[in-house]
C-alpha cells in the first residue's frame, strides 16, 4: 500500500541543512511524512545531503518521482545549488509553517538547534514576532555538545542524566570558555556529574531565555522542537522556568524540513528543477580560492557536480557569479 501511494501521489522533498545537522523529509500530497532522516553533517554538508538522500531512498524502498524540492537552514543556498531546489526558504518561516499546519492554535514556538536558537511568536496562525541569537551561541545546542564532550558523556545520555540530579549546580554560561572553567571547578570540589549536567541544562535555558526570548511574549500553547527537544533535562528546565508545559511534535527534529516541503507543496512548481536521486552517485565537491582582483580578497567557492562547475558564490563583486550565468 505504502509503495503504491508513493507512486500515484505527488511527493515533496524538504531539506534542512543547519550548521551541525542535516534533515531530509519526504512528504506526501496529503502532508504525511513518508520518510525522514536526521544526521550530523560533521562539517561536510554535501556528503550529509547525499547520505540523507540515500537514507530516504532506503526507507522508501525505491526511487520515486519528485514534484518539488525546497531547502532551508543556514546552508540552504548550498543545498539548493546542489540538489536543484524549486524553493529556498529561511528556517524561521519554515519552522513556523510546519507548526501552523500541525497545531494552528499554537502561540509560541521554541526551537533550539545546533548553533541557532529561535523563538517564534504566533497569533491566530500568523507569525507576529520572532528572535534568533545573533552574537552568542551560549543558548544553543552546540554549547551542550561541547560540554558533554568534555565530560565524556554522549549527548543522548545527557538529558536523562540531568533528571537524576538532586541539587543542580550553578554554572556561568556567558560563553563556553567561562562554562568550562566553572564546570571543571565544580568537578574538582566534588559535585556529582548529574548535578553538573543539570547545572549545564539550567545555564543553557537561562541563556536562551535571556538572550533570545528577552521582551517576547511567551504564551501557551508552546511548541518545543529542534534537535535539543529530545533532551529531557533541557525540556524539564525550560518548562520549570516558563511555568508551562510544552507540546513536542512527533517529528520535532525535522520540523524545518517539513516546513520547507509544505511550502514547496503549496507553491506547486509546474516542473521541478530537482537533479534526481542519481546525484548521490555523482561526485560532488566544492572548491575554494581567494580572489586577488581587489582588496576584498573574497573567498570564492565553486560547486562541482561531476567535475563541472554548477554554481559559484562568495564573490562580493559577483564577477564569477555573473560569468556563470552568462
Amino acid at each position: 500500500m505504502g509503495a503504491l501511494q508513493v507512486l500515484i501521489m505527488a511527493n515533496y522533498l524538504g531539506i534542512d541543512v543547519g550548521s551541525i545537522t542535516t534533515k531530509l523529509v519526504m512528504l506526501s500530497e496529503s502532508g504525511q511524512v513518508l520518510a525522514k532522516t536526521y544526521l550530523r553533517n560533521s562539517g561536510r554538508p554535501i556528503e550529509a545531503i547525499q547520505q540523507g538522500m540515500e537514507d530516504i531512498l532506503a526507507q522508501l524502498g525505491k526511487t520515486v518521482p519528485i514534484d518539488g524540492v525546497a531547502t532551508t537552514g543556514s546552508a540552504r543556498h548550498l543545498a539548493a545549488y546542489l540538489v536543484g531546489a524549486d524553493l529556498i526558504k529561511n528556517e524561521i518561516t519554515a519552522h513556523a509553517i510546519a507548526v501552523i499546519d500541525f497545531l494552528p492554535e499554537a502561540k509560541t514556538i521554541i526551537e533550539i538547534g545546533g548553533q541557532d536558537s529561535k523563538v517564534i511568536v504566533l497569533r491566530n496562525g500568523v507569525v507576529v514576532d520572532f528572535a534568533m541569537n545573533t552574537v552568542c551561541a551560549a543558548g544553543t545546542g552546540s554549547f551542550l555538545d561541547q560540554q558533554a564532550a568534555r565530560l565524556g558523556i554522549s549527548i543522548e545520555a545527557f538529558g536523562d542524566l540531568a533528571l537524576k540530579a538532586n541539587h543542580p549546580v550553578r554554572i556561568a554560561g556567558r560563553c563556553t570558555v567561562f562554562a568550562e572553567t566553572d564546570m571543571i571547578h565544580k568537578q574538582q570540589i566534588g559535585h556529582s556529574v548529574e548535578d553538573i549536567v543539570a547545572g549545564l541544562c539550567d545555564s543553557l535555558v537561562k541563556n536562551y531565555l535571556n538572550n533570545v526570548c528577552r521582551g517576547k511574549e511567551v504564551l501557551s500553547p508552546i511548541v518545543f522542537q529542534g534537535g535539543v527537544a529530545a533532551n529531557r533535562g533541557i525540556h524539564k528546565a525550560l518548562e520549570k522556568e516558563l511555568e508551562a508545559s510544552f507540546i513536542i511534535p512527533k517529528h520535532f527534529d525535522v520540523m524545518g524540513a517539513i516546513g520547507a516541503a509544505k511550502l514547496v507543496k503549496r507553491a506547486r512548481p509546474s516542473e521541478t528543477k530537482f537533479r534526481g536521486f542519481d546525484l548521490l552517485r555523482k561526485s560532488c565537491s566544492t572548491r575554494g580560492f581567494e580572489c586577488g582582483e581587489c582588496e576584498n580578497q573574497c573567498e570564492v567557492i565553486e560547486l562541482l557536480v561531476d567535475h563541472q562547475v554548477v554554481a559559484c558564490w562568495g564573490d562580493l563583486c559577483e564577477r564569477y557569479r555573473y560569468a556563470q550565468k552568462g
Binding site: 529561511n90 524561521i92 518561516t93 507569525v127 552574537v135 521582551g215 582588496e295
Partner: protein, 366 residues
C-alpha cells in the same frame, strides 16, 4: 604630508574630493574588509562598540600604507563616540605608529575653532599657499560630491525593490558612484548625477510589485555604513522593501551647522517630541530619535522598522528596551539587529527574510 580618514558609507568619495581638489596628498584606506575588522578587534576589547573597531582598523591600514595625518570628525558627549580619538590615539601610539591627528570640531564654537587652529599650526607649514587657497573650493567640491552620492543612493533605495534581476541596482549604483568619484569639476559632478540617475532608472523594473515600506533607525555608523551593517539596506531592498532612513551626512552636517532645511529640522524635532511619551530626557546620540521615528513611521503607515545598533552601544541599548514596548503599543513590527564582529551575515539574511515574510503575512491578513 599624507592625509587619511576613516570609511563611513561613501564618505571616502567626498573626503578624497576635498583633498584632491586642494592638492593635498592623501591615502584612502583600503575598503573595510575582514582584515580591517580583525586589526580593530585585536587592539580593543569585547565591550567596545563595533564602529570603534572598524575605524581603528581603517587607521592602522592607512598608516601602514604610509599616511601620516589622520583627520577625524570629533563628537560630543554623552556617548563613547566623543572619546574615540582619545583612546585610538594611545592605541596607535603604543603600536609604534607615527602620525598627526586633526579633529574636525563637532560644533562650531570659538573654543573648538581655537583648538583646531592650534592643531593645524604645524600642518599649515607644510601646505603651500595654493593648497590653502584652493581649500574652500575643495570643500565645495566635497559637498557637491556628497550630495551627488546621497541623491544616487536615495534613488537606488527607491528602485531596488522593483528590480527585475536581483543585484542589478547595486551593480548600477556602484558604477554611478564611481562616476561621481572620478569627476574633477563641479560640472562633471552634475553630469555624473544625471548619467547615474538615468542608469538607475533605465534598469528593467517590475512595476506590478507593491513594495513594503520599512524605515531603518538606530545608531549612525550602523545605519550609514554597509560594511558595519552587512548591507542591511541592500538586502532589504532585494527582498522587495523600499527602505527609508533619515541619517545622511548632509542632514547631520547641516544639523551641526544649524542650517537644516525647515522640514528636515522639524522632522527631527517631531521624532523627538514623539519619543517623550516613553523617554523623559534626551539620552543622547540617536536614542530618542530612534524611538520617535518608530512611532511616526507607524502613524505614517509604514510596514515595519529595522533598528540597528552595535553590541553594547550605550544609548541604543536603552532604545532597544523601549522599542519593544513601542512595537506593541503602535502595532508595528520592529526588528532589532545587534551588530558585532562575528560572522553573522548569514544570520542577518535569515532574520531579514523572516521579517519580510512576517510583513507579507500581516499584509495578507489585513
Amino acid at each position: 604630508m599624507k592625509v587619511t580618514f576613516p570609511h563611513l558609507g561613501s564618505m571616502h568619495i567626498f573626503c578624497k574630493a576635498i583633498a584632491e581638489t586642494a592638492g593635498i596628498p592623501y591615502i584612502v584606506p583600503p575598503e573595510t574588509s575582514r582584515k580591517t575588522l580583525t586589526l580593530g578587534v585585536l587592539h580593543s576589547n569585547e565591550s567596545i562598540c563595533l564602529p570603534f573597531k572598524i575605524i581603528l582598523g581603517n587607521f592602522i591600514e592607512a598608516l601602514q600604507m604610509g599616511a601620516d595625518t589622520i583627520v577625524m570628525v570629533g563628537s560630543g558627549p554623552p556617548c563613547r563616540l566623543g572619546l574615540y580619538d582619545l583612546v585610538q590615539r594611545v592605541i596607535l601610539e603604543e603600536m609604534g605608529l607615527h602620525y598627526r591627528w586633526l579633529t574636525i570640531p563637532p560644533r562650531l564654537t570659538w573654543q573648538a575653532i581655537w583648538k583646531n587652529h592650534e592643531e593645524t599650526k604645524e600642518l599649515r607649514k607644510e601646505l603651500s599657499a595654493k593648497n590653502i587657497l584652493l581649500f574652500p573650493y575643495g570643500l565645495w567640491m566635497g559637498w557637491k560630491k556628497m550630495i551627488a552620492c546621497e541623491t544616487l543612493e536615495q534613488l537606488a533605495m527607491k528602485v531596488r525593490p522593483m528590480e527585475s534581476e536581483k543585484g542589478e541596482t547595486q551593480r548600477r549604483l556602484k558604477k554611478a558612484l564611481s562616476w561621481v568619484d572620478e569627476a574633477k569639476t563641479p560640472r562633471a559632478v552634475e553630469e555624473a548625477i544625471r548619467k547615474g540617475e538615468s542608469l538607475l532608472q533605465d534598469m528593467k523594473q517590475d512595476h506590478s510589485r507593491i513594495p513594503f515600506k520599512v524605515a531603518i533607525v538606530g545608531e549612525l555608523y550602523t545605519v550609514m555604513d554597509p560594511h558595519i551593517n552587512r548591507g542591511v539596506e541592500q538586502k532589504l531592498g532585494e527582498l522587495g522593501v523600499e527602505v527609508t532612513r533619515t541619517s545622511w551626512f548632509s542632514t547631520h552636517i547641516l544639523r551641526t551647522l544649524r542650517k537644516n532645511k525647515a522640514d528636515q529640522a522639524s522632522e527631527r524635532v517631531r521624532f523627538f517630541e514623539a519619543s517623550k511619551a516613553y523617554l523623559g530626557y534626551d539620552v543622547g546620540a540617536e536614542c530618542n530619535v530612534s524611538i520617535g521615528e518608530a512611532i511616526w513611521r507607524s502613524k505614517e503607515g509604514y510596514d515595519g522598522v529595522v533598528h540597528l545598533m552595535p553590541f553594547a552601544c550605550m544609548p541604543e541599548t536603552t532604545a532597544s528596551g523601549i522599542l519593544n514596548k513601542v512595537g506593541k503599543d503602535w502595532d508595528i513590527p520592529i526588528l532589532t539587529l545587534i551588530l558585532d564582529e562575528q560572522e553573522i551575515e548569514g544570520r542577518i539574511q535569515t532574520l531579514l527574510e523572516a521579517f519580510v515574510e512576517m510583513l507579507e503575512w500581516k499584509r495578507r491578513a489585513a
